[in-house]
Amino acid sequence: MTSREIISKYKADKDQLLMILHEVQNNHPQSYISEEDIILIAKHLNTTKAAVYGVVEYYSMFSSKPRGKHIIRVCKSPMCRMLGSADVLTFLQQELGVPVNHTSSDGMFTLELSECLGHCDKAPVMMIDEYLYSRLSEAKIRHSLDYFRTKP
């Protein structure tokens, strides 16, 4: 589906903005909201490009810069850190060959940090796109990466 088609599904009400941004971003192969999309959305909602851009930049889940096909979010809440999220992060950086907030060279994954993901009873946790992985071990992380690498 094109961005234009997605945007036209929504009513032209300003309170639809976050919903539109989520769907446009999820639909983009590089998981971001491009300048052209921002202009389209602004036009649809009868607002300014600056207003939409301001919202994209404010919320940590939105990006105005190209990212990988899949977004990895490692939880950095106090409980996950106490139970080993630093090791998870080090291992992921090794596996992907990039530091935090960067995209792996094959364009598959962008590694990000997230505040509490709300699964502290199974810490440490991370999300890849909409899937949650808990009680992480190196084997589990490797397995989940492989799943997304081979996913059609």
Partner: protein, 432 residues
């Protein structure tokens, strides 16, 4: 604090099963017996009977019942839910203008995962609560604002809303005889902790950056699109069906005098069985740790952080504290969202404090200077505690700084760092 009763009552009918207070459940009672996506399962456990009761009552009486039950907001502040409803109800007359009802499902307080379990396991329950409250105040439009990271909860709520519409419990045909209709829509956040604060949530719902509004006016007067709006947490709404079905007296017989009912505690860290536990308000930390399987490997407790990042550090001498709003207040601590993070003797509370302060620095929105600069300053100072010659003096300085931020910041985020800091200073300092 003495509990008035240990009698458990379930939503499908008062069940005179006597049991210890750790088994009294209202919200999670049927969670494991029903298919969360099935509306019929929900009906079989007595679901929607409370809403039917509410519709047969005068709206004012519904509000009175909630007020008499002494239900307090489960989002963290513990504000009386009945009063909030009353203010929204009274701000304009029932038929003079649009009122809104919002469910705050933007659960982002570190260490808290209680709303998630309600939304994943029994999503119809809190929506029924929303419907009761909407009828009580005359709201005809509702929103559930949920954080986008809770993907499973989102799916479950979407299904539940579809169910309500297809069985005719939401929408135009809701109650023609009473001229009452209600629409509820789901809206997603996008990773901002601050949007869990009610006025910031409303800004975000309006499609703006999550910057806080100045209070007053409160949402009861000027909420969404500046119309009267009632905002409650998921868990608060989930208590309402019980109150309407079985009455305020029955509800008040559970929990403590000033914090009636039950509370879901999200227990994490060094216990054998971390997870969500619903118990009566007023259970002691010692008992709650037992419920959660005891300390892992029998390593004793060093400190517990209660209520999330904006919560209190308490030490092992305070384990008999009554976990309810007033019990915590007695020891200058807060109950907050019900997060209970357990640290055993091998853990370093200084690290934990530093992580919490880093969190506030990251989540400060930058609108007001005291919070923007202050939270960054506190995060830096926390890094220095471990190597400081005079740790006590440094902590005192941090507490003074946090007090300054709390006094001058615009919104509750700026008022938060003082809570972990002062409790750390009072209760845990001697352990580092």
């Amino acid at each position: 604090m003495r509990l008035k009763s240990g009698i458990a009552l379930i939503i499908s009918g008062p069940n005179p099963k006597t049991s210890a207070m750790q088994h009294t459940q209202i919200v999670l009672k049927n969670c494991d017996n029903i298919r969360p996506e099935s509306f019929l399962d929900y009906r079989e456990t007595g679901g929607m009977n409370a809403f039917k009761d509410a519709l047969s009552m005068d709206p004012e009486k519904v509000l009175k019942e909630i007020n008499r039950a002494g239900l307090r907001g489960r989002g963290g502040a513990g504000f009386p839910a009945g009063l909030k409803g009353k203010y929204t109800d009274e701000s304009i007359c029932r038929y003079c203008g649009q009122k809104y009802i919002i469910c705050n499902a933007d659960e982002g307080e570190p260490g808290t995962f209680k709303d998630r379990v309600i939304m994943e396991k029994n999503p119809h329950l809190f929506i029924e609560g929303m419907m009761i409250a909407a009828w009580a105040i005359g709201a005809t439009k509702g929103y559930i604002y949920i954080r986008a990271e809770y993907t499973q909860s989102i799916q479950r709520i979407e299904t539940a809303l579809d169910n309500f519409y297809s069985y005719g419990w939401l929408g135009e045909k809701l109650d023609k005889s009473k001229n009452f209709s209600l629409d509820i829509e789901l809206r997603l956040g996008a990773g901002s902790y601050l949007c869990g604060e009610e006025l910031t949530l409303i800004e975000s719902l309006e499609g703006k950056r999550g910057y806080p509004r100045i209070k007053p006016p409160f949402p009861a007067q000027h909420g969404l699109w500046l119309q009267p709006t009632l905002v409650h947490n998921v868990e608060t709404f989930a208590h309402m069906p019980y109150i309407i079905r079985w009455g305020a007296e029955s509800y008040r017989s559970i929990g403590t005098e000033k914090s009636p009912g039950t509370k879901i505690f999200s227990v994490s860290g060094d216990v054998n069985k971390p997870g969500n536990y619903e118990t009566e308000m007023g259970i002691s930390l010692r008992e709650l740790i037992d419920v959660a399987g005891g300390m892992k490997d029998d390593v004793p407790l060093k400190t517990a952080v209660i209520g999330g990042a904006a919560g209190s550090f308490i030490n092992s001498d305070q384990m008999d504290v009554s976990l309810c709003f007033d019990g915590m207040k007695k020891i200058d601590a807060v109950l907050g969202s019900g997060a209970v993070m357990i640290l055993n003797e091998t853990r370093d509370p200084v690290d934990f404090l530093a992580w919490i302060l880093e969190f506030f620095k990251h989540e400060s929105c930058g609108k007001c200077i005291p919070c923007r600069v202050g939270t960054a300053q506190l995060a830096l100072m926390a890094q220095e505690i471990a190597g400081a010659d005079d740790k006590s003096a440094l902590l005192d300085k941090m507490v003074a700084e946090a007090e300054y931020i709390a006094e001058n910041a615009l919104c509750p985020l700026g008022a938060s760092p003082i809570i972990p800091l002062s409790s750390f200073n009072n209760n845990v300092k001697h352990l580092i």
